[in-house]
């Protein structure tokens, strides 16, 4: 399956380090565009701090709106890193090599962006410390540790820390390459960050062990983070459409679906911008497309289960909610759009090898998935709150304000800006992975067959 090209270490260094050592012509234009989006979102948030959370569109009974939808969306995107890096590393899938670091870095920036949204949603984020920190601050009240809203920041902080460490530890050999290729203050900084890396067998063995260890440690966090986020909704007894036990696996598999699709989008962009055709080959898009078919279909199964569970009980309030989601404007249109974009357009297309190996189609289908998954979270959160109350005369309508829309748009700029800045300082494809892959290309002849000459030790 591997369609590698023979390359020397110098060629690999040159190809993968050029964005770090030189400034591409398009770089500052993209940075400016991302920065403008961030500035727009930041200005919107500044206005909210000045005027109060009344500028948001949330109101009784729909107290959670676009900002919480966006929070769940970005936590979902963050699951890409663990899926592609940790799980595929532990299963020794060779095709993961060029995409692991980009996936892990996407995890970090999307998770950091996600974590900011509940803070902004509270309206007075400077008071969040009194609410989330495990200390009573002379109020005589500790945090409610039985609430998933407290497990949330713990899980997100743990996931963010472990992902950041994962990126750093796998980055150390590449930092040594940068140390040896730079002079002046960049050389001093990379020397410190490289932690004395020399490339002896002990260091390589420790690096491999640490990668396996971190992958194994991150996996329970990977499952728990989005399970806990789902329980923000699942443990809300009073909201029909939320209080259902399927939410944990449904959210986790949905997160993997959107996260892996986001990595596919990122891979196309990386291949085009950095001219990495030799590293992000058609076979990688083929493999990620096949993974998306499996993950997407599993997600769709859980979506169907969630819907069936809701209808099976035939509770009037639950049925009223589903009637709103499926039959009433504008939710009916959004519902159809969500199903088409999240599953019925991309997944059947991905069944065809020609589509999986077509970069343009992979780019647009992966973006469609994330449009659909953002709509999925919107359809879960907002209509359920609109129909939360028993009495119909206090059913609500939610209209997102321009402030919320700008903050959502700004979040995309923030993640893009983070990725661009990272690509300017560190290589987005691990050099040692690309070089190690060359070793695995060696073959020997056994009779009339050519077989791999090198096998994995672990």
């Amino acid at each position: 399956m591997q369609e590698r090209i023979r390359q020397t270490e110098r060629e690999i260094n040159r190809d993968l380090l050029w964005p770090v050592l030189r400034i591409p012509w398009w770089f500052w234009g993209l940075v400016l565009a991302a920065a403008l989006l961030v500035a727009a979102g930041g200005s919107a948030f500044g206005l909210e701090v000045n005027r109060g959370p009344g500028v948001y569109g949330v109101n009784r009974p729909t107290f959670w709106g676009f900002l919480i939808v966006n929070f769940v969306f970005w936590v979902g995107i963050s699951h890409a890193g663990v899926m592609l890096s940790a799980i595929l590393r532990l299963s020794q899938a060779e095709w993961r090599r060029p995409m692991v670091r980009a996936a892990e870095v996407l995890t970090i920036f999307s998770l950091a962006t996600a974590a900011s949204f509940p803070l902004m949603h509270t309206g007075r984020p400077w008071r969040i410390l009194y609410w989330a920190f495990p200390y009573d601050f002379s109020r005589g009240v500790y945090v409610n540790v039985r609430s998933p809203l407290i497990w949330d920041p713990s899980a997100i902080f743990t996931y963010l820390t472990s992902s950041a460490l994962f990126v750093f530890i796998t980055l150390i050999p590449d930092l040594a390459v940068l140390r040896d290729r730079t002079t002046g203050w960049p050389h001093r900084i990379f020397s410190v960050l490289a932690l004395g890396w020399k490339g002896n067998p002990r260091q390589w063995r420790l690096q491999a062990l640490a990668g396996i260890l971190l992958s194994a440690l991150i996996l329970p966090v990977f499952v728990s983070v989005h399970s806990i986020v789902s329980w923000d909704f699942g443990m809300a007894v009073s909201v029909e459409g939320w209080h259902v036990t399927i939410f944990a696996p449904y959210f986790v598999i949905g997160a993997v679906h959107s996260g892996v699709a986001a990595v596919a989008t990122l891979m196309v962009v990386m291949r085009k911008l950095f001219r990495w055709d030799a590293y992000l080959r058609d076979e990688h898009f083929d493999a990620i497309g096949r993974l998306l078919v499996v993950v997407g279909t599993a997600w769709f199964y859980f979506f169907l289960l969630e819907f069936v569970f809701a209808l099976l009980g035939r509770e009037p309030q639950e049925l009223a909610l589903r009637e709103l989601q499926v039959f009433q404007w504008p939710w009916n249109a959004l519902f159809v759009l969500f199903l088409l974009t999240a599953y019925f357009i991309p997944v059947p297309l991905w069944l065809f090898r020609r589509v999986r190996r077509n970069l343009t189609l992979m780019f647009w289908t992966s973006i469609l998935v994330n449009v659909g998954m953002w709509l999925e979270r919107l359809i879960i959160i907002v209509p359920s709150l609109m129909r939360k109350q028993t009495f119909t005369f206090i059913w609500g309508v939610y209209k997102p304000s321009p402030i919320e829309i700008l903050m959502v748009v700004g979040s995309f700029g923030l993640v893009a800006l983070g990725l661009l800045m990272f690509s300017k300082v560190f290589p987005l494809i691990p050099l040692n992975e690309a070089k190690e892959a060359q070793v695995f290309m060696d073959e020997i002849r056994v009779g009339k067959r050519r077989v791999p000459a090198v096998v994995r030790e672990e």
């Binding site: 260890l213 728990s224 190690e436």
Partner: protein
Amino acid sequence: MARPSAVLGIFADADSAGRAVERLQALGVEEVEVLTGHPYPSGAFGEAPVHPRYHRFPTAGGLVGAGVGAALGVLLQAPPAGAEHVAILTLPPAAFLAILGGVLGGLAGGLLGLAVEAEARPAPYDPEITRGRIGVRAYCSPGQVGPAARALEEAGALRVRS
């Protein structure tokens, strides 16, 4: 006891590096390490395989972290001092915080293990190693440095440093 010295030879390919390791071992140099820009299968150059006892650190850290997390989950459910009622302790918060604490503890232990087990020490190095060359470094007594350097040159070293 004389402080060990180190001599480094830079080679263009794995075969000549392997020959250099053989020659150094024939000279009686006990500690030879091969520096590469990417991992090779262990023993690829004839050097002794390494077995760092790394697992102790994340295991210990994980156990400590899990204990701290579980304790935090229990203590945060405990009633305030002086309260007359007894709080009902539920398992899930303690379990979740134990898992998260175990992960963070395992990470901290893993980092400590990397620092301890790396056994870093000052020795000659050449930036060409990260450009595809292979370095063979011998730690030997000062009297062996000359013969070791000659052995590296005879094996085809592009450059020898000490």
